[in-house]
Symmetry: none
Subunit: 220 residues, 4 copies
DNA sequence: TATGAATGAGGCTTCATTCAT
DNA sequence: GATGAATGAAGCCTCATTCAT
């Protein structure tokens, strides 16, 4: 009987909980839009509530305070990005340069798709978030560190298998490569019509072969 | 003798003017420190004034408003950086890959020195400034565009002289290269103790020769 | 029953709306008192709020800003005056001098009653309001113009029916007559104990018959 | 010898004093212009100083504070008006209605000339001054009382000589007559192009003979 | 004596947050 | 649970006045 009650209760609650979760979702989305478009400080809680169509007192039933919501907005964005990137990309393990090229091309394309699909995403993450406060700034900086570690792992794998340069300083090279990605996203922010495929191609060109002309001897 | 007096008057600012200029300078510096450390929105005019040791009303004798001072802070930072970069770097015209390597190494070192000497500079420019408002965000983004054009010019020069790859997409390659610089600065923000020389070296490695291992065939 | 509920809802304001309207009313009244007593510029929003017994932030939930409230104060005063004047005065159409005398006497008495009942009313309208800013000054001046037109209409009617002097310059005579009313109000401001009935009588004396002694020949 | 020194000193001082008096004069004029055009509260001391072309610190060597200067501005205006009015008008003593008509016509014309010549004068006295503070308001109201007494005196004189109505309530009639003048000035403020001669004529018409048509019996 | 740099009281306004309904 | 009315801390900015030069 307890199980039955439990079952009934849980199914009843789950309906209410689902609605609650949906509204949470809506608030996060609205907050994201406000923050990305107007900026964090220029956005009032009332703006977010109005966009959702709820009273602004209700907001506080779903989130602690303004700082809380922006935390969730960021977390949410990062989750979405992570999901997109890991959706059809093998988490690791490519064993030839050719496969690596393919995989990094795919990752680049995915990233390009994400930031092109909704420029408010990079705008929020790169322009707005870092200035919110020290903690948020550190969080964004931490992202870069994290991305560096991922890339570094790939590179180390490639070096150990011999399809990447033996002498590679993997961490710093990872920073360089990720920097190019960052540069691409930033470029997309000032030039929404930029041909991201061409840019990705140029990045891969530098990444694999550098810019030195064939007439010159390779650097020692 | 009249000429002498005239000379003094014209070449040297009057005492009052000098003092005024000095205080202006001090206010800009104090504002920079406040903004970089606490953030633009968390900084009150009173904070800046207190740091300088003046009444907050005095602030308004030197700057229109809060937006005005941050504009000057940014302008000032960019001027300093530009000055540092152009101080002993030939503005352009290098005709061999070797010279180009030397020059870009120097630029990289200069940049590294600037951001390492005072991490509040990149913190202000990259973390705080973009989120202040739309205009400031655009201004920072514009910087990247500007830097791209400079780099692109160098690259085009190198291509035309044959010491850089013939098929280079100079604009996008410039974005990639500048992205690596940006990545280096960002990395320095989260890791103040990072070995910038090693990072610069890794960047040059990628930049000139890429990461492909020698055993593999170059990309088609 | 649904109709009943509907009726209640539509005909009566909800409790919250009533309370809101009441508070609005209280704020306007308090502002009027502050402005009339201390003057517009000497009155802070906090003063008004304190008089109502609300936080000064609450004020801004009811009125845009200081300029907004004074606009409403004036509008409110004028409405009250207009209502009082038109309450039992036929809007127009009197066809004999006798009737005209009666009506203008009543208007004069009404006006006297209003300004005597609360001297802050003329104090606000005549002493404070004109100096608030250009717009408000113009608004008050506009009132005089409007009053002149009303009076002028009455006079023209009387002239056409022959119970007023044929050669009357109706607009300017209206200005003269209204000027006497204005003078009476102003006199009441410096002399609150002034016998307004006697003053009104003197005004009517001048108005209808002038001051010339009977021994002298009427002016040509 | 003392006399000689005295003489020298006084003549020397008088030069400096004259200059000082001139500057005082200029400051008063500038303040009048600022106050009348922008309003008392909207005018900063710096505005006045700038208009004169002196440092705003200098202002305080000539006047105690902002309240002090406006007091002088008003005093100065009233003096000018009084001077104009008493310039060629016999201070009193007219013994026939004819003379009285002539004199009051001249006074009216003088007044009209003054306020028409520089509309900032009535604007300052009637629109700005009363709202400055309680004292200034009282001062302006006091003016009307004073004017009433003057007019009343004239009327009493006329009554006693029989050329004005015997039963005249001289004080209140004076208020009525002065009210018409006030009305004329106010009308001139909203209508700068108003024909003041016609208005003056209408006022005299009411003043001497009233508006009653000849067909009706005079009021009892 | 003239100046204007410095000052801070004072006032407006916003908005995150609370809480009674 | 939802609401929005109320609140006051907080911050921007002005400007009358002082005073050292």
């Amino acid at each position: 009987m307890a199980a039955g009650v439990q079952g009934i209760q849980s199914s009843v609650l789950s309906r209410a909980e689902r609605k609650k979760a949906e509204l949470r979702r809506e608030i996060i989305d609205a907050a994201f839009e406000c923050f990305a478009e107007r900026g964090y400080h220029a956005t009032a809680i009332a703006d977010i509530a109005a966009r959702v169509g709820i009273g602004h007192g209700t907001f506080y039933r779903y989130f602690e305070n303004k700082r809380d919501i922006v935390e969730h907005v960021i977390t949410d964005l990062l989750e979405k990005i992570t999901d997109s990137l890991t959706a059809d990309n093998a988490p690791n393990a490519v064993d030839t340069l050719q496969d690596y090229r393919v995989q990094s091309a795919r990752i680049g394309e995915d990233l390009a798709r994400i930031v092109t699909a909704d420029p408010r995403v990079p705008r929020m993450l790169l322009l707005q978030a870092p200035g919110i406060d020290k903690d948020m700034g550190d969080r964004i900086l931490g992202l870069f560190e994290y991305a560096m570690q991922l890339t570094s792992g790939y590179l180390a794998h490639g070096v150990s298998l011999g399809y990447l340069k033996e002498e590679l300083d993997v961490d710093n090279t990872a920073r360089a490569i990720n920097g190019m990605m960052l540069g691409a996203i930033v470029a997309g922010l000032s030039r929404p019509d930029l041909d991201q495929r061409a840019l990705a191609s140029a990045i891969r060109g530098v990444m694999y072969d550098g810019i030195s002309g064939s007439l010159t001897t390779p650097s020692p």
